[in-house]
């Protein structure tokens, strides 16, 4: 470069600094350290409930950590900054190396050094055959090597050979594939989506019509929910088998589904959905991620009208499937909103698939549906579901109870078929239990690319660690008492593991034991020299 202006000089120095190995190492180390809080602290994206608990336990620290992005580490700007810098540094390192490598591939192996005895691997011998024949034999022995034969003054012939170019190729593939992996990962996050939905296993259906069909939906940045893969499914049955210890053995849901191509024809296909075995329809996958019970109640209002509902209750003890929830009813035929809001009903309490009573306290003894029972409170009044606040389907709005607008009117333990009568004559009947499944729908069109790049990463890594780059030279000069003096030399350009042995084998082939030879002692061949 000529007299550089200070700006370009500064830029160049920054670029050189960024692409140096030292910086890359620092960034790698920083990446490792920065990822750790993501494993140690609860994360919004994984478990918002635990983040809330953390806030309650550390009321002063948590808001500070939150502002710094510690509960969303992998979406935080500082984490992104580290890996982007790392990848810029990687590009800055890999691109020049690729160019250099392409040049090397076109160039013949380097010229034979004048003094082969100085190399870490060296042998020397004499033979009666001519220099030309020695070189020809060497060339035959070095099949698979890149070879260049050169003439030196005085009838001396030399051969230079190099092998193990795949090491650098593997190394470059590894680094470029890492880059590709990151890009594919990002694209997947951009255009993919995940949604969870609970479906009763009583023939209820779910159609992937839009985000509203889901209980929770997390779209990628470019997903607006208008172009989801159209499919429908119907959950006919759910079966769980348990060991006598209560440990689950197998879960399976019997589905019917219509893929994108079946909707107009109206054909349904059967499918057994199991854990570890999703239903795949093109790029859209459906997973069985949970299950539970939905107790069914029928309420007979004083005027004789009946309403039935089966609503999922949330399992609170996964080992025994003791569940907790609320089933809510609106009085039928009441048009006056004010009146309606004094007569709404909520059945709330516990459900046990295998009832175990301690006194009148209900708990569950086994996760399978052997002897179901509910322990319920019935509340009457204003449920608050037009208060403007969001409501959980699993619980009542406690503020309505606190303000006296929702009052407990009965409490009882019921088995299927049993009922209780409220003071106003309303009858609450526990009909039985329906099972529900919790399904997840995932869509990520970039996934095959991620896999392809991951395989390249692995392949590249394997090549770059297993292949050894090494050089071999031979010089045959007429002269000496027998006819031709042969000198052989070898140099491993990377960690020298094993080249000593390979070199010795080549020497033994080229200078058979009969010929006068003086290989260097074996100990010297382990001296390691590294490239890069």
């Amino acid at each position: 470069m000529t007299q550089a202006n200070p700006v370009t000089a500064a830029l160049r120095n920054t670029w050189r600094g960024l692409t140096s190995m030292r910086t890359a190492l620092m960034l790698l180390f920083l990446l490792a350290v920065a990822a750790l809080p993501g494993a140690l602290l609860p994360q919004h994206s994984l478990n918002p409930q635990r983040v809330r608990t953390y806030f309650e336990q550390h009321p002063t620290l948590a808001p500070v950590l939150d502002r710094l992005g510690f509960f969303d580490v992998f979406a935080s700007p500082w984490f992104a900054a580290i890996y982007l810098l790392l990848f810029v540094s990687l590009v800055g390192c890999v691109v020049p190396r690729s160019i250099d490598y392409a040049r090397q591939l076109r160039k013949p192996p380097v010229i034979t050094p004048r003094n082969l005895a100085r190399l870490p691997h060296h042998a020397h011998g004499e033979t009666a055959v001519s220099a030309g024949e020695v070189i020809a034999a060497t060339q035959r022995r070095l099949r698979g090597w890149r070879v260049a034969v050169r003439d030196e003054p005085g009838g001396v012939r030399t051969i230079s050979a190099e092998r193990g170019y795949l090491r650098e190729a593997g190394n470059l593939v590894f680094h470029l594939a890492l880059l590709g992996l990151l890009v594919a990962f990002a694209i997947g996050k951009l255009v993919g989506y995940q949604g969870q939905v609970i479906v009763l296993a009583n023939g209820s259906q779910f159609c992937n019509s839009g985000p509203l069909a889901y209980d929770s939906f997390s779209p990628g940045r470019s997903v607006d929910g208008t172009a989801l893969t159209p499919f429908c499914l119907q959950v006919n049955d759910f079966n769980a088998t348990y060991l006598p210890t209560g440990e689950a053995e197998d879960f399976r849901a019997a589905l019917l589904y219509q893929g994108p191509g079946d909707l107009t024809a109206g054909t349904w296909h059967p499918y057994q959905l199991r854990v570890n075995d999703p239903l795949r329809m093109g790029g859209t996958r459906v997973y069985l991620i949970g299950h539970g019970y939905a107790p069914q109640f029928t309420v007979t209002f004083p005027d004789g009208q009946q309403r039935s509902a089966a609503v999922q209750w949330a399992p609170v003890e996964l080992g025994t499937m003791l569940s907790e929830g609320t089933t809510k009813f609106d009085p039928p035929g009441v048009t006056d909103d004010a009146v309606r809001r004094t007569r709404q009903l909520a059945i709330t309490g516990l459900f046990a698939p295998t009832a175990a009573f301690r006194g009148s306290l209900l708990s569950s003894g086994f996760p399978a549906l052997l002897d179901p029972a509910v322990a319920i409170d019935v509340l009457k009044g204003d449920l608050g579901n037009n208060s403007g606040r969001g409501q959980s389907i699993f619980s009542i709005d406690q503020s309505m109870v606190d303000s006296g607008r929702l009052k407990q009117v009965a409490r009882s333990n019921l088995r299927p078929g049993e009922q209780l009568t409220l003071p106003d004559g309303t009858i609450v009947h526990f009909d039985g239990v329906t099972r529900f499944v919790s399904l997840q729908v995932s869509y990520d069109p970039a996934q095959p690319w991620v896999l392809a790049f991951a395989v390249l990463v692995l392949g590249g890594l394997g090549l770059s660690l297993a292949v050894k780059r090494r050089r071999f030279w031979a010089r045959a000069a007429p002269g000496g008492p027998v006819g031709t003096v042969v000198e052989l030399g070898g140099l491993a350009r990377t960690e020298a593991a094993g080249y000593g042995e390979e070199f010795d084998r080549i020497v033994a082939d080229l200078l058979p034991p009969g010929t006068a030879r003086s290989p260097v002692p074996a100990g010297a061949s382990e001296t390691s020299r590294e490239g890069r």
Partner: protein, 316 residues
């Protein structure tokens, strides 16, 4: 799949036997190590400092006899380690036969298998380096020490009865993914021990370091084992992602175990880079390798036991 309690109890017996044999081999190795020939300068330092058990050996009149005894002890320690590894393999095989699947679905089984890989990896390293690093067998005690500690923890606090798989783990990926994780962790344990010893050996004047093989040998063992383990670890992460895609609906979700596995991977990548960078070779690189194994251990114990995540069922 019904459990065979008889085979399971034989497996437990073999586990205990292997642990005792490892312990014996470790003691023999440490005695051998203590009696090993010390370079004269270090010898003077030991004697001047008043020394410990080693002084008695060194002060014995002939000076040759104890060395021969030590060498014998070393050979029998290696043989004992081999025997223990066989018993250990039997324990794993019996456990597998008892439950009708690969025996690595909980921490006890995982630790047992990874210790076996570490011992097997160590024996392979000894065999491959038998000509170039004759002082290497003496280090057996240092490799067996973490193995004995891990197996003791595994056999006591983390012990789990033989049981069938829960549905979430019941997939052929458990054979592929967990095997790779076990193999990588076991080999990296050997690598980590070699780097710790390297750091001791490069500390001049350290009494412990004076009997170690030269630091270049230790560095080479650490590097070569890491080079074998890193692709295996990469494979473990990739197959883990493939399994996660089939089980949890996404191939990568920053679950604590996933994150920690990636952190360990990044640290080991840093180790290989450091070892190829001027100014970072030597103690710096060795420290990174030790940190890498620290992350692996942290991932195995802390993440499984303390942090709730998708991998929690692999806990106790």
């Amino acid at each position: 799949m019904p459990i065979n309690p008889v085979l399971a109890s034989y497996s437990d017996l073999a586990y205990g036997t292997a642990l005792v044999l490892y312990l014996l081999a470790m003691v023999l190795h440490f005695v051998e190590y203590a009696a090993a020939r010390v370079p004269t300068t270090a010898l003077a330092a030991t004697v001047a400092a008043g020394g410990d058990g080693s002084v008695a050996t060194l002060a014995s009149p002939a000076g040759v006899a104890p060395r021969a005894t030590a060498a014998r002890m070393g050979r029998s320690a290696v043989a004992l380690t081999g025997l223990a590894a066989l018993v250990h393999a039997a324990s794993l095989a019996l456990r597998g036969a008892a439950i009708g699947r690969v025996p690595w679905a909980n921490m006890y089984e995982f630790i047992s298998a990874l210790c076996f890989v570490a011992v097997a990896g160590w024996l392979v390293t000894l065999y491959r380096q038998r000509r170039t690093a004759t002082a290497l067998p003496r280090l057996g005690g240092f490799v067996l020490l973490p193995v004995v500690v891990l197996m003791f923890l595994g056999g006591t606090v983390l012990y789990a009865q033989a049981a069938p798989l829960i549905p979430q783990l019941n997939s052929y990926w458990i054979t592929i993914h967990v095997s790779a994780a076990i193999a990588a962790t076991g080999i990296l344990l050997v690598s980590g021990v070699a780097s710790v010893l390297y750091l001791l050996a490069t500390r001049t004047g350290a009494r412990l370091g004076s009997r170690l093989p030269d630091s270049a040998t230790l560095d080479r063992v650490a590097y070569r084992t890491a080079v074998v383990a890193l692709p295996v670890w990469t494979f473990a992460i990739i197959t883990g992602a493939i399994w996660a895609e089939a089980a949890w609906g996404r191939y990568w979700g920053w679950d604590p175990k996933e994150t920690c596995a990636l952190v360990a991977w990044v640290v080991y990548a840093g180790y290989l880079h450091a070892r190829a960078t001027a100014g970072w070779r030597g103690p710096w690189a060795a420290w990174i390798n030790v940190a890498g194994f620290g992350v692996m251990l942290f991932n195995l114990f802390f993440i499984n036991i303390v942090i709730a995540g998708f991998h929690s069922y692999a806990g106790i």
